[in-house]
């Protein structure tokens, strides 16, 4: 009897420490990623890298200024197309929605969120690149924009639902029409959280490579206008990391460092803001 209890206590202690070990291993993977990338990336990061065009093949030096600007352009297009759509859709789900159609939209958004990013690339390719007959920033930005919609939609809905009911009732009681209550009271009450959700979404699509490979493609030079192939940081990292030159590899590390820093800063900032929600949102 006693030995059985001892055995159970041993199993208890053993398995519980094992779960702790699992958590430790998972987290340490992140630390390895950060440490190794930080060490290598920081080393190769130079001022030239940030301000110059890529060097011609075979020469060393040069930078990725065009890719940094290109990533910005693509994200801007994505933000301008994806965020308003997701926002308005989210307002519908939270404020106007019925039952069946709301469920359908929400479920579809979740499914669209799970579509592999490479398939989104094919979608933008058949929709934009094929009719236009050339790669363009439009196509890449649109691919990212479509990926952004379900993310913004779901986060907007969640944050709007967290706005306390009395706020809506109060404004309606004062004679505001429903849309006025939404525009002037409900959305402003959660605008910080909604913006943060959109930022998280942008941070996620900023690192996407697969949808850009055959939409915005790549460019060794500045791209003049949105109708041209456009370089972007993720695609540059892919091309340079798999290329044959040691100098390319160094630049890939530097580019990876910049990209990861952007994504992580956006993520950490957003999560800090969300954890300190505005008082109006604490139901």
């Amino acid at each position: 009897m006693k030995s059985r209890l001892a055995w159970r206590k041993f199993v208890n202690g053993f398995m519980l420490s094992l779960t702790g070990l699992c958590a430790l291993v998972s987290v340490s993977v992140l630390l390895v990623v950060l440490g190794y990338l930080g060490w290598n990336g920081w080393q190769y990061l130079t001022w030239t890298f940030l301000t110059h065009l890529p060097a011609p093949v075979g020469e060393t030096g040069g930078g990725m200024a065009n890719a940094i600007v290109g990533s910005g352009t693509l994200l801007l297009i994505a933000a301008l197309t994806g965020i308003p759509t997701g926002l308005l859709g989210g307002i519908y789900l939270a404020e106007f929605g019925g039952k069946t159609f709301t469920f359908l939209v929400r479920y579809t958004a979740d499914l669209l969120n799970g579509v592999p990013s490479i398939v989104m690339g094919i979608f933008a390719y058949t929709l934009v690149v094929l009719p236009m007959h050339h790669f363009s920033a439009w196509a890449g930005g649109l691919a990212l924009g479509v990926m952004l919609i379900p993310i913004v939609l779901r986060s907007t809905e969640d944050f709007l639902r967290a706005v306390p009911m009395p706020l809506r009732e109060g404004s309606l009681a004062l004679g505001a029409s429903k849309w006025k209550a939404i525009v002037t009271i409900v959305v402003p009450a959660s605008i910080r959280a909604i913006a943060t959700g959109a930022l998280l979404g942008l941070a996620r699509v900023a690192g996407e490579t697969a949808p850009l490979l055959f939409t915005s493609f790549n460019n060794q030079y500045w791209s003049h206008g949105l109708n041209q192939p456009t370089a972007s940081l993720p695609v540059m990292i892919y091309v340079y990391a798999t290329g044959p030159y040691a100098d390319w590899h160094r630049q890939a590390w530097a580019a990876g460092f910049i990209l990861l820093m952007l994504v992580l800063v956006a993520n950490i900032g957003a999560r800090l803001i969300l954890s300190r929600r505005s008082p109006a949102l604490r139901g």
């Binding site: 199993v11 208890n12 398995m15 779960t19 702790g20 070990l21 699992c22 958590a23 998972s26 987290v27 993977v29 992140l30 990623v33 290598n40 759509t85 308005l88 859709g89 519908y92 939270a94 404020e95 106007f96 159609f101 939209v105 479920y107 579809t108 499914l111 669209l112 799970g114 579509v115 592999p116 490479i118 398939v119 094919i122 979608f123 929709l127 479509v146 919609i149 939609l153 009911m165 309606l172 029409s177 429903k178 849309w179 006025k180 939404i182 996407e208 490579t209 697969a210 490979l213 055959f214 990292i237 990391a241 590899h249 890939a252 990876g256 990209l259 992580l264 993520n267 950490i268 999560r271």
Partner: protein, 330 residues
């Protein structure tokens, strides 16, 4: 929950007249217009999804006419003679995804149990934050680390060790390149662990606290209460997280493309290079000459889309079922 604010219960006699009147009043105050606008944007997401299916379907007609179902079961991928069989890619995709799931599952569920059941709230929140950051690391960056850190490590340390100890198995034989199926499996494991952890943690937290208390009151140890009561209760949701992770692994492109070796071969050895559906699309799409070649790649995209959609749909239902069951939140 928003309450229906407009008075939407007209009586039968004057009903239609009053409804019409109220419709015009709301139209004038702008409510009806606002409703239609946001409804249009909500409908847009459904339309986009339908359009996605339509585009993939209409742009993959040629290989369907030419090869039919043979597309999925033959293994010759020859752009020169225009014969396209997708079996090696399907094999590569399935083998890497399922093996990474086997590795990630115990690790992820173990970590989730620790975070949900054991760790003090502060530590749990901190570690979950780290795990979520890991999920945010772009795939191409993990690929970068895969190429320069993981692959050399596999080639010089791990694969020789596996060959020496388990070399009698067919899975650990042949040339050791570093790049290959094994590298892809490891990278995928790293990518899907955060999903399993965060979702499993959530469903574990959704288990009513009474369940734990009852088990402990009956004399169970902490582990027994967790393993025999809490985990079975949250089982469905954990299955959901597994399916979600699987869909993620199937569609993962960049990191896998960079380390798998990109060779359309079916081999039992994990040391051998392979190819996945997503990787072949990423690699060959811009080089595809001729409509049949391009459309074959798009059909691969369609296959990938359908499989991940089905798995996702299943996962969502499972997760929905559990988080609804749960009543308390400790």
């Amino acid at each position: 929950m928003p309450v229906p604010i407009e008075n939407s219960s007209p009586s039968k006699a004057q009903g239609s007249k009053r409804a019409l009147y109220s419709f015009f009043r709301r139209l004038r105050s702008g409510d009806e217009i606002a409703h239609l606008i946001v409804l249009a944007f909500a409908a847009l997401i459904v339309l986009i999804t339908l359009l996605l299916v339509y585009e993939l379907w209409t742009h993959s007609v040629l290989p369907r006419q030419r090869f039919g179902w043979n597309f999925l079961v033959t293994s010759k991928w020859d752009p020169v003679f225009e014969h396209f069989g997708a079996l090696p890619f399907i094999y590569g995709t399935l083998i890497t995804s399922s093996l990474s799931l086997v590795l990630a599952l115990p690790l992820g569920v173990g970590a989730a149990i620790f975070l949900a059941e054991l760790a003090p709230p502060r530590i749990s929140h901190g570690l979950t934050f780290f795990v979520e950051l890991l999920a945010a690391v772009p795939s191409v960056i993990l690929g970068l680390l895969g190429v320069f850190l993981l692959v050399p490590l596999l080639r010089t340390e791990v694969e020789p060790f596996l060959k020496a100890t388990l070399g009698f198995l067919p899975f650990f034989q042949g040339q050791m390149y570093g790049i290959g199926l094994l590298a892809a499996v490891v990278i995928l494991t790293i990518m899907i662990i955060p999903f399993i952890i965060t979702i499993s943690r959530e469903v574990l937290l959704a288990v009513p606290v009474e369940q734990r208390e009852a088990a402990l009151a009956l004399g169970a140890t902490r582990w027994e209460a967790t393993w025999r009561v809490v985990v079975p209760y949250a089982k469905t949701g954990i299955y959901g997280s597994i399916f979600l992770a699987l869909a993620r692994a199937l569609g993962e492109t960049m990191a896998v493309t960079m380390v798998i070796g990109n060779d359309p071969r079916i081999s039992a050895s994990l040391f051998a290079p392979g190819y996945t559906i997503a990787a072949v699309i990423a690699n060959e799409f811009t080089e595809a000459t001729g409509n049949l070649y391009l459309q074959s790649l798009i059909e691969l995209g369609l296959v990938l889309f359908l499989v991940t959609i089905i798995i996702n749909a299943l996962a969502r239902v499972l997760i929905l079922l559990t988080t609804r069951q749960g009543t308390a939140h400790p």
